[in-house]
Symmetry: D2
Subunit: 142 residues, 4 copies
Amino acid sequence: MAKFTVKRAERIHWGDCDPAGIIYYPRYFEIFDRCTTAMLEQALGMNKREFLIAFDFSGYPCVETGARFLLPTTFGDDVIVESTIVELGRSSFKIRHHLSKGGALAVEGSETRVWVRRQNTDSKSIKAHPIPDEVVARLGGR
Amino acid sequence: MAKFTVKRAERIHWGDCDPAGIIYYPRYFEIFDRCTTAMLEQALGMNKREFLIAFDFSGYPCVETGARFLLPTTFGDDVIVESTIVELGRSSFKIRHHLSKGGALAVEGSETRVWVRRQNTDSKSIKAHPIPDEVVARLGGR
Amino acid sequence: MAKFTVKRAERIHWGDCDPAGIIYYPRYFEIFDRCTTAMLEQALGMNKREFLIAFDFSGYPCVETGARFLLPTTFGDDVIVESTIVELGRSSFKIRHHLSKGGALAVEGSETRVWVRRQNTDSKSIKAHPIPDEVVARLGGR
Amino acid sequence: MAKFTVKRAERIHWGDCDPAGIIYYPRYFEIFDRCTTAMLEQALGMNKREFLIAFDFSGYPCVETGARFLLPTTFGDDVIVESTIVELGRSSFKIRHHLSKGGALAVEGSETRVWVRRQNTDSKSIKAHPIPDEVVARLGGR
C-alpha cells in the first residue's frame, strides 16, 4: 500500500472565520483540496496547470469526502496538514488529512478522488481513466 | 425518531464553479450549512440571529460531516435539497441532506451538530448544552 | 443611454459573515456578480450557460469594480439589490448596484464589464467583441 | 505622508478560479484583505488576534474599495502583492495594492479602512476611534 505523505503549512485567516470567531468549517475542504493538489505537485514536480497537460487528463474530482472536527481553529492560527495516500487503485485514490494545531490533532479528513479524462476531444463528459504508471511510481507505488 | 424535513431550492452560480466547469465541491458544505439553518429557522419561526438570542445559545457547530458526489452540477442548475433530522439526541443532532437535480440524486450529505452555550458570560469557551424541550418539540420530538 | 434595471433579493448568511459579526466585504462582489448575471438572464430569457452558447461568446469579465460600504449587514438580513446599466458601449458596459436593507442604502457598487470571445477555436486567449445588436436591444438600447 | 510597504506572495489556487479558467475576481478582495492584515501584523509584530487585544479595538472595516484588472491570473500562478499605506489619517487609512505576475502589474487595488472600537462594553455598535500613536509610528508616521 502506498504511503506517500506531504506536510503543508496553512494560516487560518480572518475571512475564513464566522461570527462565532472560529473557522467556518467548509473552508477546511478548500484547505484539503489545496493539500491534495500540493501532494501531486510535489510528487510530479510541476504545478497543477502543468501536470494536467503533461499527463493529458482533466482532473481528479472528489467523489466522497468526510471530516471530523476535534478542536476549533481561529484566525492567526498556523496549522500543519499531513496528507497521506492511504489507497491507490487503478483509477482512484484515497487521501487522509490530519490537520494539527500546536501538535494537537484538530481535524481529521478523508477524500476519495478519481482520475478522469474527457471521453473524446469534442465531448465535455469525462470518465474514469487508469492512473498512469509514472504517477503511481512517483506516489510510492501500489 | 424525529423525521422533521424541509426542502430548499438553491441555484448553482458561476462563482461556485471551478475550471472544470462544475461546482467546486467545498461549496456543497456551504449549501448544507444554509439548509440546516433554514431548517431551524422554519421550525422555530425566526431567523438565526433571532433564535440564537431567543434560546440563549451560541450556535450548533458541526463536529462531523461527509458527502458523496454522485452527479455533477454546474452554473445555472436549480437544485433541491431535502434535509431531514435523522437523530435528535440530548445535546446533538444529525441531519441528512439529499441534493437532487431534475429529480436525480446528485449529492448525499450528513452532518452531526452540537447545541452549544458559552461556559459563562466572560468566557469565550463553549460547551455542549441540552437542546431545549421547545426546540425538540418543534423538530418533531424524539 | 440604457437604463435597464433589475431588482434581486439576497439573504446574508452566517457563512458570509466574519468574526466581527458582519458580512465579510468580498462577499458583496460575489453578490454583485450574481446580480449582473441575473440581469442578463432576465434580459435574454435564458440562464448563463444557455446564453453563452446562444450568443457564442466566452463571458463578460470584470475589468474594473468598486464599492462604498455605508451600512453593515449581517446574517439573517434580507437585502435588495437594484442593478442598472448606466453605460452600454460597443463591447463594454457599466453596471451600478444599489444594495439596500430596510429601505436604506447599505452598499453602492459599480462594475465595468467587457463582452469577450475566444480569438479562435483552438485558442484560449480572449478578446473584446462587439455586443450583439439583439443583446443591446434587449438591454434597452444605447 | 506614510509610505509603509510590505510585499506578500500568494499562490492562485484551482478553487479560486471559475469556469473561464481564470481567477474569480471577488477572490482578489480576499487576497487584499489578507495583505492589509499582513501589513499590520508585520508593523506591530503580532498576529491579528493578538493586536486586536493589545490595542483594544474591534477591527479596521473597509469603507471603500476598488480594483482594476489588467491581466488575468490562473491556478498555479505565484503572484506578488506590494501593499503601501498611501494615506494615514486620524482614524482612517488608505492602502494601495499592486498585484503582479512575472513582473507585470496584473491588478491595482485600493482600500480605505477605519479604525473602530465598540462604543461601550455592552454594545455591539462600533465607532471610529483615533489610531493609537504607537501604531502610527510603526507605520512610518504621518
